[in-house]
């Protein structure tokens, strides 16, 4: 009798364990292929009234705040913004760096997790890659917006012209232009490649205009062995290649500042410092987006589970520590260097009238993640994660704001000091690009499968549990 009870309870706990595993990991909770395809299609095709209202609001935001104010700025002149001598770059470039940072991290997270075969990545790689594309779309507008004469922007593009003049390849702005174009192209291809099988899936399950779009985009994908083989190879190459591209591109963005002689910008650590900052804000933005997707779209609670927030929370914590390390390094070496103007600048950042920006940066980027994210319970509360990662992004915005207008305001000669304050146009256009990002993302969420279904299914096929001694262990087969 006693022996029987023991076996019974053992079986019970074993099944409980299996249930826990299923609850916890998407990879251990397989659903029939057709059902899962249907779930993704349903999520894509369901639009509530709220969705349309949100779409309309953000669309209006793009029209009025971005294009309206930008048009006025083009006609009237750059003076409608708050810029002045010596703060010639201000909120626009701040937001530019912010968006480029966010966009870099989207593809980076996807690629690096793919390269290291982190299984929790499978449901959200596409959400992160989309963030890259739209972040670039929003960010790449700023080099145009901030031009004094935007109608001549094409003079910065290398092309044979009537003036017999190439752009100045010594200028970081030309490097910037080339780097961002490279990144936009490569990250779009990297987004598109894994999308092909899903587009084909959607093509086979839709009718009308959707069908024609997917048919065109799916490039006649049939799912033969040869096609899969080539696709895997291409994705693999891109995942590896895009990581160094991301590093170099964001380093180039940092060179916009680091190669200049401006006090506080002239720093060799800016390259890695910017990369870490970009990844910190980007990973945080991925969490924000996943929270919104998971809580507003149909069927997404199945795909985006607590394990995702848990793992990304750890990543945010690590990158927050790395960021703090670089910040400390930059600060210490600048201070130790003893150049009077730099010391004045650092004192001004920490004690001047705009010190609140500096403290916001430190609190949001260091104190908040360090105090909260070590805790598993907090990492597994999506709303808490949303709030924390939003604050991290506020902190990262404050970091860029400190680096650009606040640093420019402090020049070598006290006579040149000047405080910048943003005006309506600066703020509207910045909000306008946020509207643009959200608008594009909202549209895309209903037009392309946000979940890479085939990758999830592939992962689920590869996963199984094995008995090892008394316990069960997960084993993942190598399918690729």
């Amino acid at each position: 009798m006693a022996a029987e009870t023991k076996t019974l309870s053992a079986t019970h706990s074993a099944s409980q364990e299996g249930e826990d595993l299923r609850q916890e990991h998407l990879m251990h909770d397989p659903k029939p292929r057709e059902e899962m395809n249907g779930m993704v299609m349903e999520a894509m095709q369901t639009t509530s009234k709220k969705y349309w209202i949100a779409l309309a609001i953000f669309g209006l935001g793009v029209l009025i705040l971005l294009f309206g104010f930008w048009g006025n700025q083009i006609i009237t002149g750059m003076g409608v913004t708050g810029k002045r001598r010596p703060v010639f770059w201000a909120l626009y470039i701040t937001t530019f760096v912010f968006w480029i940072g966010i966009s870099h991290a989207g593809t980076f997270v996807s690629a690096i997790l793919r390269v290291f075969k982190a299984e929790f990545r499978r449901p959200f790689t596409r959400a992160a890659e989309l963030m890259t594309t739209f972040g670039l779309a929003a960010g790449a507008l700023f080099p145009l917006i901030h031009l004094g004469r935007v109608w001549t922007f094409y003079w910065m593009i290398p092309y044979p012209n009537a003036r017999w003049l190439w752009p100045n390849f010594r200028s970081p702005l030309v490097w910037d232009f080339l780097a961002i174009t490279t990144y936009l192209l490569s990250s779009t291809i990297y987004l598109y490649l894994p999308l092909i099988p899903d587009l084909a899936m959607a093509r086979d399950r839709s009718t009308g205009w959707r069908h024609s779009i997917y048919k065109l985009l799916a490039l006649n994908w049939r799912g033969t062995e040869a096609e899969w083989h080539r696709l895997r190879k291409a994705i693999n190459i891109f995942a590896f290649a895009i990581i160094p591209v991301m590093f170099s591109v964001h380093t180039i963005v940092s060179w916009d500042f680091a190669v200049s002689q401006t006090v506080g910008w002239h720093s060799t650590i800016f390259g890695p410092y910017f990369i870490i900052g970009a990844i910190l804000s980007g990973v945080s933005a991925v969490v924000m987006i996943l929270f919104i997707i998971q809580s507003t779209m149909k069927n997404m609670k199945y795909f985006i589970r607590l394990e995702v927030f848990d793992s990304l929370g750890k990543l945010v914590l690590i990158f927050s520590m790395a960021w703090a390390y670089f910040f400390f390094n930059e600060y210490l070496l600048h201070w130790y260097g003893g150049y009077q103007a730099v010391r004045d600048l650092l004192t001004f950042h920490a004690q001047g009238p705009t010190a609140w920006v500096w403290y916001t940066m430190l609190i949001c980027n260091v104190a908040i993640p360090w105090l909260t994210l070590w805790n598993r319970k907090i990492r597994r509360t999506p709303l808490a994660m949303f709030i924390i990662t939003t604050l991290v992004n506020v902190g990262m915005f404050a970091e860029r704001y400190t680096i650009i207008p606040l640093t420019l305001g402090e020049q070598r000669f006290p006579f040149d000091w000047g405080a910048y304050s943003p005006r309506l146009t600066d703020i509207s256009i910045v909000i306008g690009t946020f509207c643009l990002f959200i608008f594009l993302y909202l549209l895309a969420s209903r037009l392309i499968p946000l979940i890479p279904v085939w990758e999830v299914q592939e992962g689920q096929m590869a996963h199984s549990t094995r008995k090892l001694g008394k316990g069960k262990v997960t084993s993942v087969a190598e399918l690729e």
């Binding site: 001598r85 010596p86 200049s260």
Partner: protein, 238 residues
């Protein structure tokens, strides 16, 4: 046409001990170079388009204070930070005059040059500034009127340099020392500004630049400025 033109090294000496801070140079510069008036509020906010400005600092503790004045314009660096950063070659070095020139028509308005200038000597056209009648009658026909969205800065009155060089060439003679006067130099009541060719040892500007009182602004940055300041003990009048 193809005869080789000898490169000059135009330079300036500003004697700070003679400067009274009267702002005559600022006014003269605006008249000569068609610099628009941006108004009181805009200038107070930091958008005055001055190519030369008097940096005033106070010495001593209140009430025992005395002002020091320092006219600062583009330093026409030999190794200029503004030049390499311009993506469209709007900020370039002139071989013949050895000064930095700003090509207004080529400028797209990235304002990178202004950020990278350690002297913050560049100014930007935030708007189209009107030149209403009768102000427009006083516009200098030798100088471009700039439109919104382009950067501008002190040119060492390059139109005067060109005029003098062309005249001398037409008359088949060497250009004389002191033949070119910049607008600020012309207006300076105390003669604190000397302009001329630094490559000639005997020119007034070279002799003044060799003074023991001479220094250059932010020399440690390696920008090789062509404006030399003289500073000894006191100030003119204080």
């Amino acid at each position: 046409m193809s005869e080789k033109v000898e490169a000059k090294k135009w330079g300036m000496v500003v004697d700070l001990d003679l400067c009274t801070g009267c702002q005559a140079c600022v006014t003269a510069c605006a008249m000569e170079n068609n610099i628009p008036y941006t108004g009181e509020d805009e200038t107070a906010y930091g958008r005055g388009l001055h190519w030369i400005r008097i940096q005033r600092y106070w010495k001593g503790e209140y009430p025992e204070v005395s002002p020091t004045h320092q006219p600062v314009m583009c330093q026409q660096c030999g190794h200029a930070p503004c030049e390499p950063v311009c993506p469209v070659y709007a900020s370039v070095h002139s071989e013949e005059e050895q000064i930095n020139v700003q090509v207004y028509n080529r400028c797209v308005g990235t304002r990178y040059c202004a950020n990278n200038c350690p002297y913050i000597s560049r100014t930007f056209n935030w708007f189209d500034y009107p030149h209403p009648v009768p102000e427009s009658y006083s516009l200098n026909p030798d100088v471009t009127v700039r439109r919104r969205g382009v950067m501008e800065k002190c040119t060492f009155c390059v139109q005067r340099i060109r005029h003098a060089v062309d005249t001398a060439q037409a008359e088949g003679r060497e250009i004389e020392d002191g033949e070119v006067m910049t607008a600020c130099q012309q207006a300076c009541p105390t003669g604190a500004i000397i302009f001329g060719d630094l490559s000639k040892k005997e020119s007034a500007v070279s002799q003044a630049a060799r003074s023991q009182r001479s220094f250059r602004l932010l020399e440690e940055l390696g920008t090789e400025p062509k404006v030399v300041y003289l500073k000894g003990g006191g100030n003119y009048g204080g």
